[in-house]
């Protein structure tokens, strides 16, 4: 049996978080979604008080990450996740307003799995999220390395 995948959403804008959650739910994904509105809390949750990431050992995670956070850069979080031996296998979906090609390239280089630009056109946005939901429902997320 596989562990249910927990979706970690790191998004400072609560409106965006709500829209993302709604659309994920609409696409039929019912996994638990844990939301964080700032980088510090999210890091605490992911890496634990000692910063080793040991707390997530054995958990299957999928991370939705916004790059513009009030307290730190999403790029830094992405980098640390991909450098941590317990977390690096977890897929990371970067969701941001920036469509700057340099930044997209940078994210992929750091190991981001999917990069989604939040379009203002809501239909596109909803579609993107729903497809992401479908993607969630078919991918096999490995548990954090044991």
């Amino acid at each position: 049996m596989t562990l249910p995948v927990t979706i970690i959403m790191i998004e400072d804008d609560e409106g965006h978080a709500r829209l993302i959650e709604r659309n994920i739910r609409r696409s039929g994904v019912n996994n638990e979604i844990v939301s964080f509105t700032n980088g510090t809390d999210a890091m605490m949750h992911l890496f634990g008080a000692d910063g080793s990431g040991l707390v997530q050992k054995g958990n299957a995670l999928l991370i939705l990450l916004d790059l513009n956070l009030p307290d730190m850069s999403g790029i830094d979080i992405l980098k640390q996740i991909k450098e941590n031996k317990y977390l690096k296998a977890s897929p990371v979906v970067v969701l941001t307003t920036t469509d700057d090609s340099q930044e997209i390239k940078r994210c992929y280089e750091l190991g981001c799995n999917v990069y989604i630009t939040k379009p203002v056109n809501y239909e596109n946005f909803a579609n993107a999220i729903r497809q992401l939901g479908l993607f969630f429902s078919v991918i096999q997320v490995p548990p954090a390395a044991s």
């Binding site: 804008d13 409106g15 965006h16 829209l19 709604r22 513009n68 307003t97 920036t98 700057d100 939040k118 379009p119 203002v120 056109n121 809501y122 239909e123 946005f125 909803a126």
Partner: protein
């Protein structure tokens, strides 16, 4: 001043020379009078010697002296034409001398006739008649007169010489003084010039550093604005996503609500359940639904517009940060490629595009492509309705710059809008074509970054000419080094 002094001294020297001439003249007159007296004495003594000794020597001597008297008289006469007193004296003297000469002649005659007694008597008579004394006193008077004149004239000469000398002295003194003053003035002005030069050099150095400083400030301000524009436009997007998202949610919700209302009002109670969507709204409910949709429609279109504007700013700031790569560009091939990519629009607008000879340049290809395709696209877009378009692309070089002109026979731009069309989000003329008012602002920003300038000359309904001046060889270091 010096001229006056030198003229004065020349005049005085001349005066002195005149005066000395008069002195010399006086001396000469005196001299002549003495000579005359001497000759007369010689004649007299010759006559006496001859009378006493009958010697031929004395006779010859006497004759010679007598012969010398009239020329001497003559000379004195000539010399004293200027002096009336002397002339009077001279006349008397001449008369006396003539008398004496007559006596001499008589004496000689008597002697020749062998009557020495008679001549002796004549000599005595002459002595008694004081002819000789008269001559002596007259001559003495003349000499005295000349002495007086001599004193007067030498005093005159002395005075004018002193004057001339002092004039010359003053002149020399003045010359020396003036020379000193001019030396001082020259040195002072030289010093002032040196000072000014030093100040100028300092000012130049200051100016350069000030310019550098200002340039750095400007660059910083420019970077700041770019960052600001980037961050603002970026951060404006986040709330916009929410507004759009929840507006769409509201729209869905609205549909649900009105469907529900329709279901509640339209379905007769107790009837069989029907699909809510099939129930039409009636009267006021329908109106409400329409109003609701209309409001949401305006909100959504405004959001879409705002998003386009924000995207435009983002693109502009992104362009502003892109590094340019200069490369050699064959202008004709380059423009032809752009024109062929716009061929469809051109054909639709019945526009013909003529490419005249163009200078090749070294610049950033992508930037140039955006510049020219924007301008040519505009030329095609804003042609006059019903008039076949004619677009010309010309080029020439001047002083290291390539000048390109894009000329059309289109609707033209009112001169009062010439500045406005280059502003972001501003447009001019009839608004019958889609557009955001970004193209020209973007083009001008690019031209500026490429170290060039652009301008427009146009009249309403008389076509437009956009002129772009770009450095023939754009050097990446121009700007990249600045960063």
């Amino acid at each position: 001043m010096l001229t006056v002094i030198s003229a004065g001294s020349v005049y005085l020297v001349n005066e002195a020379r005149d005066d000395s001439k008069w002195v010399v003249h006086t001396i000469e007159v005196e001299n002549q009078i003495n000579t005359l007296l001497l000759e007369i004495r010689r004649a007299e003594s010759g006559a006496r010697g001859f009378l006493l000794t009958q010697g031929a020597d004395f006779k010859a001597d006497h004759d010679k002296a007598v012969a010398a008297v009239p020329p001497a008289l003559d000379r004195i006469n000539r010399l004293t034409v200027d002096n009336q007193a002397q002339r009077d004296n001279l006349e008397k003297l001449s008369a006396a001398i003539q008398t004496r000469l007559g006596q001499f002649a008589q004496e000689m005659d008597f002697l020749r006739q062998g009557q020495p007694d008679k001549s002796l008597a004549l000599v005595r008579e002459a002595a008694a008649a004081n002819t000789t004394t008269t001559i002596g006193s007259l001559a003495a008077a003349m000499i005295a007169e000349e002495e007086r004149l001599f004193r007067l004239r030498s005093a005159n000469a002395d005075r004018s010489q002193t004057l001339a000398a002092s004039m010359t002295g003053i002149g020399s003194g003045l010359v020396v003084l003036l020379a000193l003053i001019s030396v001082w003035l020259v040195r002072r002005s030289a010093r002032a010039r040196d000072d000014a030069e030093t100040r100028l050099r300092d000012a130049n150095l200051n100016l350069e550093s000030t310019v550098d400083e200002r340039t750095a400030d400007l660059r910083e301000a420019n970077d700041e604005i770019q960052r600001f524009a980037y961050i603002v436009s970026h951060d404006l997007r986040s709330p916009l996503v929410n507004i759009m998202g929840f507006t769409s949610e509201l729209e869905e919700l609205g549909k649900d609500i009105f469907r529900r209302i329709g279901g509640l009002t339209g379905v007769p109670a107790g009837g069989p359940p029907v699909d809510i969507a099939d129930i039409p709204l009636d009267g006021p409910d329908k109106q409400m639904s329409a109003d609701f949709s209309e409001a949401l429609g305006f909100i959504k279109s405004s959001i879409a517009r705002m998003d386009r504007l924000i995207s435009a700013i983002l693109n502009l700031t992104r362009e502003g940060r892109r590094e340019f790569q200069p490369e050699k560009i064959d202008a004709r091939d380059f423009i032809e490629a752009i024109v062929s990519s716009l061929a469809h629009q051109a054909a639709e607008a019945q526009a013909e595009i003529h490419i005249e000879p163009l200078p090749n340049i070294v610049s950033d290809r992508l930037a140039l492509e955006q510049i020219f395709s924007n301008l040519i696209d505009n030329a095609i877009k804003y042609l006059k309705n019903g008039v076949p378009g004619e677009i010309r692309i010309r080029g020439r070089t001047k002083l290291g710059y390539a000048i390109f002109e894009i000329n059309d026979n289109g609707r033209g731009i009112d001169p009062k809008d010439h500045q406005r069309i280059f502003d972001l989000f501003r447009r001019a003329g009839t608004q019958d074509k889609p557009g955001q008012g970004i193209g020209l602002a973007h083009v001008r920003a690019l031209v500026r970054r490429l170290g060039g300038t652009m301008s427009v000359s146009s009249e309403l309904n008389a076509g437009s000419t956009f002129t772009i001046t770009l450095p023939i060889s754009w050097n990446a270091s121009n700007r990249n080094a600045d960063k």
